[in-house]
Symmetry: C2
Subunit: 242 residues, 2 copies
C-alpha cells in the first residue's frame, strides 16, 4: 500500500508470529493481514501475494515482496532500526577474542533454520503420519516413528538444544546472559531461535526444565510488552493445532 | 594452528565440499582435514573439534571454531575477500527498485537452508527407512513414502525448485542471469544454493531438464577451475552414498 507502511501477511499458528513480535518491538505502524489455515495448510490466497504462498510474507511500502522470516527480519531492522537497538556492533572480520559478531549471529540463525528446523519437521511429519494413518496400519507407522526417534531424532534434538543452552552461558561462566549475542536487547539471533524453542516445547519434545538458561530466555521473551501486544493482535500461536 | 591459516574439517560426501570450493575460489592457503563417514554418519572425532560434531567446521587462525556452512562462508568472505569480488554492493535499506541486496541474499540462503533443506531431508529419511526396513514391512514403509511424496513432498519440491529457476531470470525477461544476485562472480547465495541442487539432482528427485536456468547455473559452477580443484582435494562428493 502506498501509505508508507509495510504489510505483514500473517498465518495463524505459524512463524509469522515472530515477525509480528519484531514489528511490535520496532514500534512502527504497519498493516496486518490475518490468514487462517485450511485443513492445517496455508490458504491458496497467500499464493496471490508471493508465488511460494508462504507465511510470513512482507510487502514493503514500495511494493517489494519478501519471504523467508530471516530475510524479513533483516529488512525490518535495516529499515527501521537505524539506531541499532536490536543489532550487535558488527566486526568486519569476526577475528579476535570477541566473537559476538555477525558470524556468530549467522551461526545461530542457521543452527535454527538449517539444523533444528529439519529435525523438528521430521518429528512433526511422523506425528501427523501416525494420526492420519488408517487404523489397521497405525501401529506399524507408530513403530517406524518410535524406531526413528530412538535411533536418531530424539538424541540429536537433545544434543542441539543442549548446545543452544550452553550458548547462553555468561562469558565468565557464572549464570546466563540475557540474549544470545550478549546485548541488552534481543537481536536477530533471539528473534530466530525462539520459534524453534516454542515449536519443540509446545509439542512436548523437549523438557525445558533440563535447559535452565533456555527456560529463562524463553520467559524473558514472553515477558516483553511487544510480545504480549503481538499475541493480542495475531490470530493464534498454538503450534500443536493439528 | 598458529601459522595464520584456517583449517577446514571436511567430511566426505557432505556440504563441506561447498566450503572447499569457496576456499579455492578465494585462492588462500588453508589446512584441510579429511574425515570419512562411519556407517554413513559423521565420525566421533568431529566432536573433538566442536561439540555439535558437524561438518563443515572451520577453525580460524586464532582458534575460533565456526560451524554452520553459511556462517563459515560469511567469515571467509569477510576475512579474505576484502576486495568484495564475491559480494554484492550492499544497500542499507533494501528499499527501491534495485533489489539485489543483502535481503535478497538472505532470502535465497534461507530458502535453501530452512525451506528446501527440510524437504530434501524428509525425502532422504524415507529413502533410508525403506532400505533399512525389515523385508516384511518394507512394502508398507514404501507405501507411506509413496503417500507422503504424492500428497505433499514432490509437489512442494517442484514448486520451490521452479521458483528458484525463475529467480535466475534476467531482469529484462530475456534469458537468464549468470548468478543469483546479478553479479559477475558467485556470491553466498550461489555457494549456498548449489548444495541443494546437487542433493536433489544426484538422488534423481528433480529433473534438471525442466529447469533450464538452473541447469545452466549448475554447469557454470562445475566449470569453474576452483570447483575442479576442490574435487581433486576432497575425499568425495557422492551424495547418494547410502
Amino acid at each position: 500500500m502506498a501509505d508508507g507502511k509495510p504489510t505483514l501477511h500473517y498465518l495463524q499458528d505459524s512463524q509469522a508470529h515472530l515477525v509480528l513480535w519484531v514489528l511490535e518491538e520496532l514500534g512502527i505502524e504497519y498493516h496486518l493481514v490475518l490468514h487462517n489455515r485450511i485443513a492445517a495448510r496455508s490458504p491458496p490466497e497467500l499464493k496471490a501475494v508471493h508465488p511460494l504462498g508462504k507465511s510470513p510474507t512482507l510487502v514493503t511500502p514500495s511494493g517489494r515482496v519478501i519471504t523467508e522470516r530471516s530475510a524479513i527480519t533483516l529488512w525490518l531492522l535495516n529499515t527501521y532500526d537505524k539506531a541499532g537497538r536490536f543489532r550487535i556492533p558488527s566486526s568486519p572480520t569476526g577475528e579476535g577474542t570477541e566473537d559476538d559478531d555477525v558470524v556468530r549471529e549467522e551461526q545461530l540463525i542457521s543452527l535454527g533454520g538449517a539444523t533444528l528446523g529439519p529435525l523438528l519437521m521430521m518429528k512433526l511429519i511422523f506425528e501427523l503420519l501416525v494420526r492420519r494413518a488408517p487404523f489397521f496400519v497405525r501401529p506399524l507407522v507408530a513403530g517406524v516413528r518410535y524406531a526413528l526417534n530412538s535411533a536418531f531424532l530424539d538424541a540429536e534434538l537433545a544434543h542441539v538444544v543442549g548446545y543452544l543452552d550452553s550458548e547462553l552461558a555468561a562469558k565468565d561462566g557464572k549464570g546466563s546472559r540475557k540474549w544470545f549475542l550478549g546485548t541488552e536487547e534481543p537481536t536477530r539471533a533471539d528473534f530466530s531461535t525462539l520459534w524453534y524453542l516454542d515449536w519443540a516445547n509446545q509439542w512436548g519434545w523437549i523438557d525445558m526444565e533440563k535447559y535452565p538458561r533456555l527456560k529463562e530466555f524463553h520467559a524473558r521473551c514472553l515477558e516483553r510488552p511487544a510480545w504480549k501486544r503481538a499475541l493480542e493482535k495475531g490470530n493464534g500461536y498454538n503450534l500443536k493445532f493439528w
